[in-house]
Amino acid sequence: MTLTLTALTSPPARVDLSPLVPETTRGRSAIEVAGTAIRCGRDRVGVGELFAVSGYGTDELVLRGELGRIDRIGAGMRGGRLRVEGSCGDHVGARMTGGEIVIDGDAGAFAGAELRGGLVRIEGSAGASAGAGYPGTRAGMSGGEIVIAGDAGQEAGAAMRRGLVAIGGRAGDGAGLRMLAGTVIALRGVGAEAGMGNKRGSIVSGRPLRPLPGYARAVRYRPPALALQLRRLRELGLEVPDAMLTGAWTRWAGDRLELSRGEILIFDEEEVAAG
């Protein structure tokens, strides 16, 4: 039976669960895992004090129950599969390099922050700074995919250098802030001040948007590369309307402060109505 951790109670302080990933639990019994020390606020506690542990460690790990105060689930994970049945705290999948994390509910702030590789799927919504770099970091996310079925908070994909942040709903303000490269897609649009300080990144907004003054309207076209990426989003389970695959997009080049090598692509709804 898959190793399963069920939260017994809401912990007294925020918990860092990063020591438990498939790589470290593989081949270990429930009793061994229950004895692993994790940080709860300023203290260290045994996993068994906060979770009922059952099953046996394989390449898969399942977390259940009230996990809102459980942070850094799957942080630094290098492989395997981790499933969160419910919503979880902050920093889920932060700096992971491989494997897959699926969250059935919502994720807190910094989901998939500074991701290096692998896939983070959030069936609900994500908090602020999904796929973002931590404060002080020049180059944040450098690979992998983050797929959010719901909405994302502020500054999704901030400082990212490579990879994909795909949002089925809407991205908050400041999406793609200071991004170096990579792609942020929000099918229901992005908030204000998207792409401020963007160097070479692509920000894709499925809803109309007035870009910052640092962006200049460049062209209206049907970008083939975007169609490929949108098909990939369908594979990953997001609902992408056909019109977005075939319709026209307006490309804005910017941020001019960073030599206008980045872009914001905005879906042209009039074309859809006409089509």
Partner: protein
């Protein structure tokens, strides 16, 4: 009353001409004594090497620039968290550890005294507060005086109060000694992005030259008889051809006691903007003829570093090379500051040459009492890289292996391929890491194991791998208390704040006050640090 008897260790105490003699060492009440009673705790040091505690004469561990570096390097620090335990405070490590971590890690490395080498006097409260939060080690700081506009005015006018002013400043801040950083050059940069081309350039608005500043302050410190002579970071750091400036600076100070910091960064031939080459041999020759001078090397170590300097101009040059994040900051009237994270790469011509020049300074026959170990932490590399540097000096085979990894073109421009077979002995390592720095700092109770000295003792396993040996001392004793055993901290205590002091005429305040009023935004009365809590526990070393 704590009594310890260390038995059977090979004692390396070069200040007392003891080289590996196996005998007991006795400690009582924080001092080294002749003998202790039968009830004393015994440490069996058979097969081990016993040295005085390490003394770092030049590092950057506290103050606004270090805080700024910590803030800039959040990504480096968060990868190295330090947990709170029953004994230890939490913190972060990395290139610029937090205050508590700095104390713990120096202690774990066998160091017992560290000098913060560049503190703006205006920020003395900040420096003192951070040093008070840096446990374990005894510590001192040098105050920056080479770009102080008030001093420029006194120097220009040939004021008889200069000496009193310097002594006043030390007393006002709790500093230990006087540091000159790019004298005149930082002010010139702040005014106009200018650089010093000659020591006789005029600093606009003050009608003084770097040479006058160096000579006047060097002479004043020499005349005051402070425990540590003027500590000089010469002009034109890092610039090709700067060895000429360095030699000129040395000639300006000939006959007076002086310490030249991170000489490696000041030993370059060539033309500004052109390819660099080594002029380390010439500088060593000058040094050999001038026993009144000492230097620390400022070795660069391949890997990550962060340049943290009062030489604000240097950081703008590095910023252009690096293109990453950086910071520049002004301290009114007194100095500047720049921070640039930097990586030294073995394959890079300039970096490999810098690495090679540092090794030349160590290995080309200089007197170890004059040439001390430093990496200018964290500018050339972290203090945690000292053990690796010691291995480079002690193990020729390892050094040649590392030479093979460095840029060949650069190494060919050094003397390192000329069958340079010198290997430092344990006593020579003890000289460059404790005896010579302590002597140069005027710390008579440190850097040696004679009766009456501070009971600061580090005991190492005598391992063939010198890097491993010096990374994890078996025991570290400070002030007679056992702090580290087998790589673990066993006891936490506050180190002493070491301050230098020389008598001065209090009437100098009447000269300084109007000059302060014209230039500082801080009122003269508020400038001196008066909070006694910031200066405790202290030991004052008087001028002689």
């Amino acid at each position: 009353m704590t009594e310890i008897r260390i038995t059977g260790g090979a004692i390396h105490d070069p200040a007392n001409e003891v080289d590996g003699e196996v005998r007991d060492l006795c400690l009582r009440d924080g001092r080294i004594v002749d003998d202790v009673g039968a009830q004393a705790r015994t440490i069996d040091a058979r097969g081990m090497v016993v040295m005085p505690g390490g003394v770092d004469i030049h590092a950057h561990i506290a103050g606004p620039k270090v805080t700024a570096a910590r803030r800039l390097l959040s990504d480096d620090r968060r990868d190295d968290p330090i947990d709170r335990t029953e004994l230890l405070r939490s913190g972060t490590g990395g290139l610029v550890p937090s205050t508590f971590a700095t104390g713990y890690r120096y202690s774990l490395l066998g160091y017992t005294t560290v000098v913060e080498a560049a503190a703006p006097p205006l920020a003395a409260r900040h420096v003192l507060a951070e040093l008070r939060d840096t446990p374990m080690i005894d510590k001192a700081f040098l105050i920056l005086m080479g770009n102080n506009q008030v001093l420029f005015e006194l120097i220009r006018d040939g004021s008889a109060h200069l000496r009193d002013a310097i002594a006043w400043w030390l007393q006002a801040t709790g500093g230990y000694g006087v540091k000159l950083v790019n004298p005149g050059g930082v002010e010139l940069f702040k005014q106009s992005n200018g650089v010093i081309e000659s020591l006789d350039d005029t600093i606009a608005g003050f009608a003084v030259t770097p040479r006058q500043v160096i000579e006047a302050i060097g002479s004043a410190v020499d005349g005051l008889g402070l425990p540590h002579p003027v500590h000089v970071h010469a002009n034109n750091l890092g610039v090709a051809g700067n060895a000429a400036t360095t030699l000129d600076t040395m000639r300006t100070l000939d006959g007076r006691q002086a310490h030249f910091a991170h000489l490696q960064f000041h030993s370059y031939g060539g033309e500004p903007g052109g390819p660099m080459r080594s002029r380390a041999p010439e500088l060593l020759e000058h040094l050999a003829a001038h026993p009144e001078f000492t230097v620390d090397v400022g070795q660069v170590m391949f890997g990550d570093a962060v340049t943290t300097t009062a030489d604000a101009h240097v950081s703008t040059v590095l910023r252009d090379l690096d293109g990453g994040k950086w910071l520049n900051h002004d301290t009114e009237v007194e100095t500047g500051c720049g921070i640039v994270p930097y990586t030294y790469q073995a394959g890079n011509y300039v970096h490999a040459l810098q690495w090679g020049i540092g090794l030349e300074l160590f290995l080309l026959g200089g007197d170890p009492w004059q040439v001390m170990l430093s990496t200018d932490h964290p500018n050339g590399g972290s203090f945690l890289s000292y053990p690796k540097l010691i291995r480079l000096l002690m193990d020729r085979g390892y050094r040649e292996d590392q030479l093979g990894r460095a840029n060949r073109r650069a190494i060919r421009r050094t003397a390192l391929l000329d069958d340079l077979d010198r290997e430092y002995t344990l006593n020579e390592i003890a000289i460059i890491t404790r005896a010579a720095p302590a002597r140069r700092l005027g710390l008579r109770d440190k850097g040696h194991l004679g009766v009456g000295a501070d009971a600061d003792v580090t005991i190492y396993h005598d391992r063939e791998d010198r890097e491993e040996m010096f990374s994890t001392p078996r025991y570290v004793i400070q002030g007679g208390e056992l702090l580290v055993e087998d790589g673990d901290l066993r006891r936490v205590q506050d180190g002493l704040l070491l301050s230098g002091r020389a008598p001065f005429d209090p009437a100098v305040a009447e000269v300084l006050e109007p000059l302060f009023g014209e230039r500082y935004t801080v009122a003269f009365d508020h400038y001196p640090v008066r909070d006694p809590a910031l200066r405790e526990p202290a030991r004052t070393v008087e001028a002689s």
